[in-house]
């Protein structure tokens, strides 16, 4: 088998394009995400047949139909549970979960947090468009308060969730955010996610052109982008802004935006980003940043290593087999039997 694998020509983007017609609305952010996934997958050195894409229900969840790997388009909210079953049954597979803000955070909130805390090696991509698209425009768990939609004509009175905060709270071992419109950053983050071993959570800001167009305008617009986002880079200070002169400093437990060169502030005063901290407090603090007071962080919030669920399960099986005979008869007879003679 090894020889055969070695002789297989390198995979290309085309190998990951299925024969199905893509049926998203013209201009949907999902196209860019699909394209980046299809660009990253052949670069990972994993045979195509080892990939499984699992999704729930929603616009984003149609994605597995368009990627020529094994795939499951399942039930609203349940993808993380079903994907866990796939990974448990065969830890050798590369399992990706495609979900949306309604799918992952509303109907499937329970499965998301438990898959993350178990550290199952799943790459969970949450396409966050802050709206229900497939059901034609109701507010979602990430919609801003006051949002007017078909189901909230008087404005939403639900406070929104912060997906990254949820993931960190649920003990995800890799947490990142990226955006559909910045394909370079998107591709970079997807690659890092693919290489992480453990529960991997990536929030992707994704624009719904029909029901929530320009939801992320403040972080995508050329004029405001630099001031409203901050790119997280491990080991680098938190600097942002059109003129790269703004930074984030900690005052006690409270972060504040400062301007370099003003009031004697230098780079030395700024937080240096460390994505490897065992304590998730700092990453959680970052996850609360949002305009107008703070820039939206893009990049890896936290990436740590700990044994995965499936590896610990495999280890238990190995250990149990060393201790006990795998002879089924021992189980069936048990410790107390008696014989009835002819």
């Amino acid at each position: 088998m090894a020889g055969e694998l070695a002789s297989i020509p390198a995979l290309t983007r085309k190998d990951f394009v299925s024969n199905q017609d893509v049926r998203w609305c013209p201009g949907c952010g999902d196209y860019a995400i699909l394209a980046q996934i299809q660009k990253v997958l052949p670069e990972l050195g994993i045979p195509r047949e080892k990939f499984v894409f699992v999704s729930g229900i929603g616009c984003s969840s149609r994605l597995p139909y368009y990627v020529n790997t094994y795939g499951l388009h399942t039930i609203h909210g349940r993808a993380p549970a079903i994907a866990t079953g796939v990974k448990v049954a065969n830890p050798d597979l590369a399992v990706w979960v495609i979900t949306g803000d309604g799918d992952a955070l509303s109907i499937g909130g329970n499965h998301l947090i438990h898959a993350l805390r178990r550290n199952v090696d799943l790459k969970i991509l949450l396409f966050n468009n802050r709206i229900y698209g497939l059901t034609k425009g109701q507010y979602s768990p990430t919609s801003e308060i006051g949002k007017k939609t078909k189901s909230t004509p008087h404005g939403s009175i639900d406070y929104p969730m912060h997906p990254i905060s949820i993931a960190l709270g649920a003990e995800a071992t890799f947490t990142a955010r990226t955006i559909d419109s910045d394909t370079g950053h998107l591709g970079k983050i997807l690659t890092e996610a693919a290489h992480h071993k453990g529960s991997t959570f990536v929030e992707i800001y994704q624009n719904c052109v029909i029901f929530n167009d320009n939801a992320f305008q403040e972080v995508t617009d050329r004029d405001t982008r630099a001031d409203n986002t901050i790119t997280l880079e491990h080991g680098r200070p938190l600097i942002f802004g059109k003129d790269r002169n703004k930074g984030i400093r900690l005052k006690g437990m409270t972060p504040e935006v400062v301007t370099l060169g003003e009031n004697g502030v230098t780079e030395q005063d700024l937080i240096v980003h460390d994505e490897t901290l065992a304590d998730s407090t700092y990453a959680f603090l970052l996850s609360r940043f949002e305009p107008p007071h703070f820039p939206v962080p893009l990049g890896v919030f936290r990436s740590i290593q700990r044994p995965t669920y499936e590896d610990m399960l495999t280890a238990q099986i190995k250990k149990a087999k060393e201790k006990k005979s795998s002879e089924l008869k021992n189980l069936l007879y048990g410790s107390e039997t008696w014989t009835v003679a002819e």
Binding site: G71, L72, T74, G85, V86, V88, L332, E336, T339, V340
Partner: protein
């Protein structure tokens, strides 16, 4: 006998063919343990037996309260028996609450052993007794033995370093010892068990042994018990036996099935009474390639099992009624994806939380129809605790052969009850044939086997067979998303035809009794023992009655209609309000009579006989009006 310092006192031995004993007491009194220890000894002694554990939903209801009474009934005999016994011959009641809730079941003239020490003013009050019932005339119809068991036990444990409280907690073994003596059983099984259980705590082990021997010796020496009883070994078919509960046999069966299919078993479940014991049992056997996952909820458990099935494992989930409701959307997806998902439902009293520790058969309609859309699947139901093993293998066999979800309908009675089980010769059980599709050139995800109509099982990791499965309707053969009206109808019909076709692969029904006659009693699942026993008694009285027992509920065995046609009166006996009866009426247009019971308890044989008589009389069958047959007694 070396361990018994007291000279044996000669006592009369009465031979009996069978007996039913019920141990009952506070849920903290260890009655389940006492009952199961007596059962184990009795099984090894060689009697046939059946048990009925009956415990409250509360782990520790207030001590001494009626709600906290826990009981364990064992029926054992020198001949073949199938039920845990209608009414106890011997009732051991450890406190007034236990007496109050159980005395009504004791046979007239039955032996009543009570712990008189527990009949304090406080306990009497908690049980709702205004006066001490032991001192009243109502006891005259029983052979009452009021023993100060707590005091006797404390005396037997004199010198033990244990605290007074711990000493008192050994009194259940004193009662066990007394019952072992009364039925001439040896103590060695329990002594061995104590050694194993308390090996690390020698004081505790010694105290329990002293209590056991104390009870045994008390029986031997006291003047108050005049005789003991002997029940000869039963003539069971030759073989090696063990005692097994339905939940254990279920777990063993699914492990065996996975091995027969040369597969890993992935069991995902969420704790729920009375199915949790299946999770506990399976979790112990990692060395047998069993991967158990305790999921975050019922839905996730079904999802994990489904994901595992797609990946090529035996994907199994287990629950009880409320959990099956939560899993139903996933089961529908498994029907749409045509994946071999197996769902165990150990039924309990419902609806809602209902009677979580009691038995019922009221999920039949849910199993058959409790899903959205046209969503047929296979439903099977084991008939006895030991049969859970065989039917678990059948569940996996059907799921894989037909690429369909299968619901395995056990119940609380089957799950908790035990019986002697002839351990099957594993090497002689037919293998489960599994074929994973490999050929990329000819692969279409929904191209069907012309005989079984099942689609290929192509698992991730197979090069060239990458494909997507989803809940959206599929085009035939290709499996591509397809919303065309006629295609949908075609797919709905073929999914139904596939399930109907399973009838070709299941055994024909066997009639218990003559192939034709006046009355046919129809049962399914865990009521097998009671129904068969009742019908056998009536047959012995010359009545033209037979019965059939359905272990395959969807599809039905193909000879069912033919059998129905051979009888004038059809009676379905089931622990619900007539669910199978209504299915049979709808399916076959047959006038079905019902015997139903929803008390959280299994049928008693007498209840069934009475029910059958009532129906026969109401239908004006002249011979049932004859005086000789007018009453079941």
């Amino acid at each position: 006998m070396a361990e018994n310092p007291v000279l044996p006192v000669y006592k009369e031995i009465e031979e009996q063919s069978e007996a039913t004993i019920r141990f009952c007491g506070d849920s903290g009194d260890g009655m389940q343990l006492t009952g199961s220890q007596f059962t184990q000894t009795t099984a090894i002694f060689g009697n046939d037996l059946a048990t009925l554990p009956d415990y409250p939903a509360e782990i520790r209801a207030p001590a001494g309260s009626l709600a906290g009474v826990s009981g364990y009934q064992v029926h054992f005999s020198s001949h073949d028996i199938r039920t845990p016994g209608d009414a106890p011959d011997v009732l051991v009641a450890m406190n007034p609450a236990a007496l109050k809730t159980n005395l009504g079941d004791l046979k007239e003239g039955g032996i009543l052993i009570v712990n008189s020490d527990a009949f304090t003013a406080n306990n009497l009050k908690k049980a709702g007794y205004a006066t001490n019932p032991l001192e009243e005339g109502g006891m005259a119809k029983y052979r009452l033995h009021a023993f100060p068991i707590t005091t006797l036990n404390t005396k037997a444990l004199e010198g033990s370093p244990l605290t007074k409280k711990d000493v008192e907690r050994c009194k259940n073994f004193f009662a066990l010892g007394l019952m072992l003596w009364m039925y001439g059983r040896p103590m060695d099984v329990s002594l061995e068990w104590i050694n194993k259980k308390f090996g690390a705590k020698p004081d505790l082990a010694e105290a329990n042994k002293m209590a056991l021997r104390g009870g045994y010796n008390f029986g031997e020496t006291t003047d108050l018990v005049k005789k003991h009883y002997y029940i000869a070994k039963a003539k069971l078919p030759a073989g090696i036996y063990r005692n097994v509960t339905g939940n254990e046999a279920t777990a063993f069966g699914f492990i065996a099935a996975a091995q027969l299919a040369d597969k890993e078993l992935v069991y995902a479940s969420y704790p729920i009474t009375p199915a949790s014991d299946v999770l506990h049992e399976l979790s112990r056997h990692r060395h047998l390639n069993v991967k158990t996952c305790q999921a975050e909820d019922e839905i996730a458990a079904a999802g994990m099992a489904l994901g595992a099935a797609f990946t090529g494992a035996v994907g199994l989930t287990g629950t009880s009624g409320p959990g099956l409701a939560l899993k139903s959307e996933t089961v529908s997806l498994a029907i749409m994806m045509e994946l071999p998902l197996v769902i165990i439902n150990v039924q309990r009293g419902g609806p809602s939380t209902g009677l979580p520790t009691k038995t019922e058969q009221s999920d039949l309609l849910q199993a058959m129809y409790g899903r959205h859309g046209e969503s047929p699947l296979a439903v099977i139901a084991p008939a006895t605790p030991g049969d859970c093993f065989s039917m678990a293998i059948e569940a996996v066999r059907i799921a894989i052969q037909y690429m369909t979800p299968v619901i395995f309908l056990s119940d609380g009675y089957l799950g908790n009850s035990s019986e002697p089980w002839k351990v099957p010769d594993f090497d002689k059980i037919p293998k489960i044939h599994v074929e994973h599709y490999k050929d990329a050139a000819s692969f279409l995800p929904f191209l069907r086997d012309p005989k079984t109509l099942s689609r290929p099982w192509a698992i991730p990791g197979t090069p060239g067979l990458e494909h997507r499965l989803g809940g959206i309707e599929k085009q035939e053969n290709t499996g591509n998303v397809n919303y065309e009206p006629l295609n949908h109808e075609k797919m709905v019909l073929v999914r139904q035809a596939k399930i109907d076709g399973i009838a070709q692969s299941i055994p024909l029904l066997e009639v218990f009794g003559k192939e034709a006659g006046d009355i046919l009693v129809i049962g399914w699942g865990g009521t097998y023992g009671a129904i068969t026993s009742a019908v056998e008694m009536l047959q012995k009285r010359g009545i033209a009655i037979s019965c059939i027992h359905l272990r395959y509920l969807n599809p039905f065995p193909s000879n069912l209609k033919k059998i129905l046609d051979n009888f004038d009166t059809h009676i379905v006996a089931e622990l619900n309000l007539g669910q199978l009866a209504s299915i049979l009426r709808g399916r076959f247009g047959v006038d079905i009579q019902s015997i139903t019971k929803v008390q959280g308890k299994p049928f008693k044989t007498d209840e069934l006989i009475e029910g059958i008589f009532k129906i026969a009389r109401s239908r004006g069958e002249p011979k049932w009006q004859e005086n000789s047959l007018a009453s079941p007694h």
